[in-house]
């Protein structure tokens, strides 16, 4: 069974630290190696990307095609799960990682049970040939139920209708929505989708916005910046951004460098 505390927003104590595509700076993104590395480096949560395959399974990969991470330029939606599984998703990162597979969602859920929270970013683009929020919701719910990971998963939806469908089919499932830019009316937009979490831009993160969301029981997730827009590159940026996001009340800080983010959170401001 699962011994993880159910996610609640606002989070108590310090923000949760989420590893972007696993520890993508240590091992090839969105592979079990990157997820293992994220755990070793203390991640509270792992952010991963989920794409439907041609035969209706969910593969863990960020891009629409497998070109960048496997060298094979095909769309995930055109491949069967066996074809996806036959590819090497590790060699591009380094010879030590040759043979890493593109994981299936259920495999990652099984691996993660009782160990770490998961933020599943569903790449459910309306342009997909077999776009259906209802069917994608069903597959996600079944996977979480079968692997007994419902309590540790939050499904992140760019497509807010998927969020609403997930909540309709399974009120227990936690969903977040993604918002770009500075949209205004964030609370109402989140409520309409049944979301308990909003993923938004660091540049538009303010204490006022986060306080408004928290008053409505909604959390704020954003990414610690490696470089600030309009500013020169500076290795201290990530630490400064991490502390700023903590101080304004962010619930989940997504990072590309777990060690630097934890060091910033533990050090004095």
């Amino acid at each position: 069974m699962n011994n993880m505390r159910p996610l609640q927003f606002p989070v108590p104590d310090r923000p949760l630290v989420s590893a972007h595509r696993g520890a993508g700076n240590i091992a090839p993104e969105n592979t079990l190696a990157a997820f293992e590395a994220a755990l070793v480096h203390g991640a509270d949560m792992i952010e991963l990307d989920v794409h439907p395959t041609r035969d209706g399974r969910l593969a863990v990969i960020h891009d629409v095609t497998t070109a960048r991470t496997t060298g094979r330029d095909r769309r995930v939606q055109d491949m069967t799960v066996d074809e996806v599984r036959s590819l090497d998703a590790g060699s591009w990162f380094g010879p030590d990682h040759a043979g890493q597979k593109i994981p299936l969602l259920e495999e990652v859920l099984d691996w993660a049970r009782g160990r770490v929270y998961l933020n599943l970013d569903v790449r459910n683009y309306p342009g997909l040939d077999f776009y259906s929020t209802g069917r994608t919701a069903e597959v996600l719910i079944k996977a979480a139920a079968r692997t007994k990971t419902m309590d540790q998963v939050i499904v992140q939806c760019l497509d807010h209708r998927l969020a609403a469908d997930l909540r309709r089919q399974c009120p227990q499932m936690l969903v977040g929505i993604t918002l770009h830019g500075r949209p205004a009316r964030e609370v109402e937009v989140a409520r309409a989708a049944g979301a308990v979490l909003i993923s938004g831009d660091a540049a538009f993160s303010t204490p006022e916005l986060v306080a408004e969301l928290h008053a409505a029981g909604i959390g704020w997730m954003t990414t610690a910046e490696l470089r600030l827009p309009g500013q020169p590159e500076d290795p201290a940026t990530l630490a400064g951004s991490t502390r700023r996001l903590r101080d304004l009340g962010a619930d989940i800080i997504v990072t590309d460098d777990l060690d630097a983010t934890f060091a910033a959170l533990e050090g004095t401001p």
Binding site: P126, G127, I177, H180, G181, P183, A193, P229, G230
Partner: protein
């Protein structure tokens, strides 16, 4: 002169928009790229605006100078006089050496004498603060403005600008699929929806049109143009297909403007 207010999408092909000018034939966001786009018959040119250190709205995409000019470092840390010194063409090709970073005012003057409309994206990195927004409004005040649309993913900023510049059409970038799309547009007084081809649906287009809102999206492949045309999208930004390859379509889309 092109006027967005006279433009309705019903029963006509979409307008093809030149991304940063003729980005594939000249250095992006320079007069060379704008001239070339106009020469190819483009009705609408898309461009990006940020504000210099001393408050001049300038036309450049990245928040740093490094990729597209001879300068280095953040755009925001340079004054307009400093920005003028940099070469914005040589990086693209020797024949374009001497191109400069244009100011928005210069491009507005240029477009006012030609049959082109401008889609002007206000970049959000760095965010337009209230001072930058006032400086932008000062450049636009008193201009006829019928041939331009200002748009951005900062909906709060666009709401402010649509109130302070009632003569100029505004648009929103909404890059998520949300049932709140129309309310976002209505709140900001927006006349244009810009949505990524990844997120856009025919339903979203129909909904925007029902409220008199024009829809803009981008084509990466020729098949995208067919799909977006079938959905009734009004403006299609050609991001990856060179404008020169679209000459017949450009001619067709200009009919009836």
């Amino acid at each position: 002169m092109f006027n967005f207010r006279d433009f309705t999408s019903t029963g006509r092909p979409p307008l093809l928009v030149a991304h940063r000018g003729d980005q594939h034939g000249a250095p992006e966001n320079t007069f060379a790229a704008f001239e070339q786009a106009a020469a190819l018959g483009t009705a609408i040119i898309e461009l990006d605006v940020q504000v210099s250190r001393d408050g001049v709205p300038v036309v450049i995409h990245d928040d740093t100078l490094d990729r597209t000019t001879s300068g280095t470092g953040p755009v925001r840390e340079r004054t307009w006089l400093e920005l003028r010194q940099f070469d914005a063409g040589a990086w693209y090709g020797e024949g374009f050496a001497g191109e400069r970073v244009p100011s928005l005012a210069e491009v507005l003057d240029w477009a006012s004498e030609r049959p082109v409309g401008l889609l002007i994206e206000l970049k959000t990195s760095p965010v337009f603060d209230s001072r930058s927004a006032e400086q932008l409004a000062a450049v636009l005040e008193g201009r006829p403005g019928g041939n331009i649309v200002l748009y951005s993913s900062d909906h709060v900023l666009m709401g402010q600008l649509s109130r302070s510049l009632p003569g100029i059409a505004t648009g929103l970038v909404i890059n998520e699929r949300t049932p709140w799309q129309h309310r976002m547009l209505a709140d900001a007084g927006a006349a244009l929806l810009s949505q990524s081809v990844w997120v856009l649906t025919e339903e979203a287009v129909t909904e925007a049109h029902a409220h008199g809102v024009l829809v803009c999206s981008e084509a990466r492949y020729p098949s995208d143009i067919d799909m977006l045309t079938a959905w009734g999208v009004d403006l299609i930004v050609s991001t990856r297909i060179p404008l020169a390859d679209l000459a017949p379509a450009l001619e067709e889309t200009r009919q009836g403007i």
